[in-house]
């Protein structure tokens, strides 16, 4: 590696501002939120600073070098195995004591280390007095004050990184664990030194400490070596649980001995956050408040978007008319008018809703309420066989299922995690919203809001019932313990929320400009070919495909046009609306899609309802299938998820349609 390249790892406890710092340094826009477990993958970025090319790696948060969940494994493996040149531990200045626990473990690893004392704005606001020089002296490593969210201290931090890299060698600081354990450490170290390969990769003392600390991962690492048996017999002769406790104890003892010199008046006191929490988690008011907030968000997503939708609709109708009027030859006008403008336009229509939805979700994430929601509903989740932590991915799923499924990585228990992954697709994501707005708005104009609310509710109910079903059959077992840090409340900043809204919203737009555009063109082609056939008629290719699958969906009340749209909806749910837009020829005349639908003699309120239920429940999109495969690592589970979703969707839509017909 060239001399002017430095690889830096950002590590630390969850929710201390690692990603915020990473974004500031590298100019990236990785996801930030005020709850533990936002980042679940390692991400790297580059920064040129004073002639050095610095590679910065953002890691998931971890409380210690013992990893319990998948995201923690990623963090630990990177620090332990990849040997970054400099390790920067981000420490939450308002919570130094617990943060230093990880420091004591990292110190032993012997890498070059820097502490970024982040959020010191909050510490100062609280009235804490931080003694940085003392801290540097005691810990024997540089300490830099930072406010990641305000870009304070970043360049000092980078300077320090360079200075640290240039230092010749580095002595790892050791913690004395007391005579008994120390003698064991020496014993283990001696055995380990017989194997040449190990000493070159890890500090032996560190290995010995980790082994005596009961770290199974390290045990696995050395299991192939020649000394594995000897080590095993030493470990069997001691009470590992006892040692574990003693060592943790010793570390905290060391910390509490040095802590008072680092920070004065750093004690707990009643803060605004506690005050707010008192009300939000009140015995009687907590749950009603939670429901009220959800309802408010829902109301806003649908009501406030209307005028913007009207504008967009007017633009696209005008574009369609213009295209039909000016463009020749006629087939090109049809491709552009009906295919592209009709398809993409009907998806673009819902951009306002999507933006508002993401804005509100981002407020939810930044406020710190998300972790509280998990705390409040844990009892209910426990009853259905999940745990409070499963609730976080479910709430995130209202935006998009893909990141929601990734967020399950911070759930430690495999069974809990699998069950959560299986039920997240039932949570109605933003891409399904256009379907509801279109159909509920068209067929239930007065009660559209209530209908859509019920659809969302149905998604949650199916998710809950499925979780219960899974946990009593294939994924049998008790939910794992729920041990979660509750972050302090913070006022969400407008800047952050708008940025988050834009990042996610623009993804929707990009999708409309790529996948949906492509899909619309394909559907138009299928509707216009074979050559000479009447556009979108039953003799076109799409008519043939539609008729082929229609018998399957007929019992749900769907004609061939809807059937074929649902088929294409596998690619992305927005395509359902887009292809209806193409098939009903929005661009062609002044009629908007809603009017064309109303004019269709095959469409009734009950069909619309059945369609919404089906769209809610069947496989969200290709991307979700992909992420389920990736996260479960199993084709079997992926296939199960798709098949189960289809079965449930078919069954419930059948009940809705046939039941509705009976009642009429």
């Amino acid at each position: 590696m060239a001399d002017n390249r430095i690889r830096v790892a950002l590590t630390g406890n969850p929710n201390v501002g690692k990603t915020t710092l990473f974004n500031m340094i590298t100019g990236s826009r990785q996801h930030v939120g005020n709850w533990p477990g936002v980042t679940v993958e390692k991400k790297s970025g580059f920064k040129m600073h004073k002639g050095y090319e610095i590679e910065v790696v953002d890691l998931p948060g971890t409380y210690s070098l013992t990893a319990y969940s998948l995201d923690e494994v990623v963090a630990r493996d990177f620090i332990v195995d990849e040997k970054p040149d400099v390790v920067v531990q981000i420490v939450d200045a308002t919570n130094i004591e617990r943060n230093l626990y990880l420091t004591t473990q990292l110190m032993e690893l012997g890498s070059k280390m820097i502490i970024a004392l982040n959020m010191y704005d909050l510490a100062e606001e609280r009235g804490d007095k931080l003694h940085v020089e003392n801290m540097e002296k005691i810990l024997a490593m540089p300490v830099v004050l930072t406010i990641a969210s305000d870009n304070v201290g970043i360049s000092e931090l980078l300077d320090t990184v360079i200075a640290e890299k240039q230092k010749e060698n580095h002595h790892s600081r050791e913690i004395g664990y007391g005579d008994e354990i120390e003698s064991r450490i020496i014993e283990v170290e001696k055995v380990l030194s017989q194997e040449d390969g190990l000493a070159s990769r890890y500090p032996l003392r560190w290995l010995a400490v980790r082994l005596l600390d009961g770290d199974e991962n390290i045990l696995r690492k050395i299991s192939g070596s020649s000394v594995a048996l000897q080590i095993k017999s030493i470990l069997e002769s001691v009470d590992i649980e006892e040692y574990e406790a003693l060592m943790a104890d010793k570390r905290y003892e060391v910390i509490s001995a040095m802590f008072p010199q680092m920070c004065e008046r750093c004690m707990t006191r009643m803060t605004t956050s506690d005050m707010v929490d008192r009300v939000m988690t009140n015995k009687y008011l907590g749950i009603p408040i939670f429901l009220a907030l959800m309802w408010g968000a829902f109301e806003l997503t649908f009501s406030f978007a209307n005028p913007f939708m009207v504008i967009i609709e007017m633009i696209f109708v005008w574009l369609g008319e213009t295209a039909a009027f000016y463009i020749r030859p006629e087939w090109l006008a049809s491709l552009i008018g009906e295919g592209i403008i009709g398809g993409v336009g009907s998806v673009f229509l819902f951009i306002p809703n999507i933006f508002i939805l993401f804005f509100l979700l981002s407020m939810l994430e930044d406020s710190g309420y998300l972790a509280r929601a998990a705390f409040i509903v844990d009892r209910v989740m426990y009853k259905i066989g999940l745990q409070g932590k499963s609730f976080i991915p479910m709430l995130l799923g209202f935006g998009c299922n893909v990141p929601a499924i990734m967020a399950t990585r911070s759930i430690e228990d495999r069974m809990d995690r699998m069950a959560t992954i299986m039920v997240v697709p039932f949570i109605s994501c933003g891409a399904r919203l256009p379907i509801y707005i279109l159909f509920a708005g068209t067929f239930f104009s007065k009660n559209a809001g209530t209908v859509i609310f019920c659809i969302y509710l149905l998604g949650i109910l199916v998710a809950v019932a499925s979780a219960k079903l899974l946990r009593t059959t294939t994924l049998k077992g008790h939910p794992a313990p729920f041990i979660l840090e509750l972050p302090p409340y913070r006022v969400p900043t407008l800047k952050n929320s708008i940025r988050h809204m834009w990042d996610n919203g623009s993804m929707y737009i990009r999708k409309a400009g790529t996948i949906i555009l492509g899909g619309s063109v394909v559907i138009w082609l299928l509707a216009a070919l074979p050559w000479g056939v009447e556009y979108g008629s039953e003799d076109s290719f799409i008519g043939i495909v539609g008729h082929a699958i229609q018998p399957l969906l007929g019992p749900l009340g769907f004609d061939w046009k809807i059937s074929v749209s649902l088929l294409f909806g596998f690619v992305a749910k927005e395509i359902v609306v887009a292809s209806l837009g193409v098939l009903y020829g929005v661009g062609d005349d002044e009629l908007a899609l809603t009017d064309s639908l109303l004019a269709d003699p095959n469409m009734y309120g009950i069909t619309a309802l059945s369609l919404m239920v089906f769209s809610l429940l069947y496989m969200p999109c290709i991307a979700v299938v992909g992420i389920i495969k990736k996260e479960t690592g199993s084709w079997k589970w992926t296939a199960f998820s798709v098949a189960y979703g289809l079965a449930v969707a078919w069954l419930l839509a059948f009940i809705v349609f046939q039941g509705g017909k009976l009642l009429n």
Binding site: R126, T272, L285, W295, S303
Partner: protein, 159 residues
């Protein structure tokens, strides 16, 4: 905590007033919404009567939210009366939540107004701002005043 006790009389009065008003408006709206939903009375007689006066169109969930906000304030009042300073938290959070919902309804009005303006629709010309005016909006003035008065204390809590 001592610094607050001097002011807690004001806050108790505030909590009482806000709690009472929200609860009252919420209950009235709830009863009428329920009766409209269940079709107990001919709709028109109410639309022109009391509901029209209170600007409380039938909105079941909306009315429950008013009741909830009222309860938060009254809960705070009870705690303050029992000498628990933490009751202030309920007053603060009540203020925040009621302002939140005021904003929600104001945005809904703004949305409807813009839509009307854009469409220039003759059909819904009958719409005027009173149609969308909800109790949450005009009642929101009270917590807004509360917020403006005690804004500094919100921040001071951290010290």
């Amino acid at each position: 905590m001592e610094q607050y006790s001097g002011r807690s009389k004001e806050k108790m009065f505030f909590a009482f007033l806000a709690g009472f008003l929200y609860l009252l408006a919420g209950s009235i709206q709830f009863v009428f919404s329920l009766s409209t939903v269940l079709d107990l009375f001919p709709v028109n007689s109410f639309e022109n009567g009391l509901i029209g006066l209170l600007f409380a169109p039938s909105d079941l969930i909306g009315s429950l939210i008013l009741v909830l906000i009222g309860s938060i304030f009254l809960y705070g009042l009870i705690e303050l009366r029992n000498g628990l300073n933490e009751g202030i938290a309920y007053v603060y959070v009540g203020i925040l939540i009621s302002i939140l919902f005021t904003v929600v309804y104001v945005l809904v009005i703004a949305g409807n107004w813009m839509e009307l303006y854009l469409l220039n629709d003759t059909e819904i010309c009958g719409w005027d701002i009173l149609y969308d005016l909800r109790p949450a909006i005009y009642l929101g003035i009270l917590p807004l005043c509360g917020y403006l008065i005690w804004r500094k204390e919100f921040r001071a809590m951290n010290k």
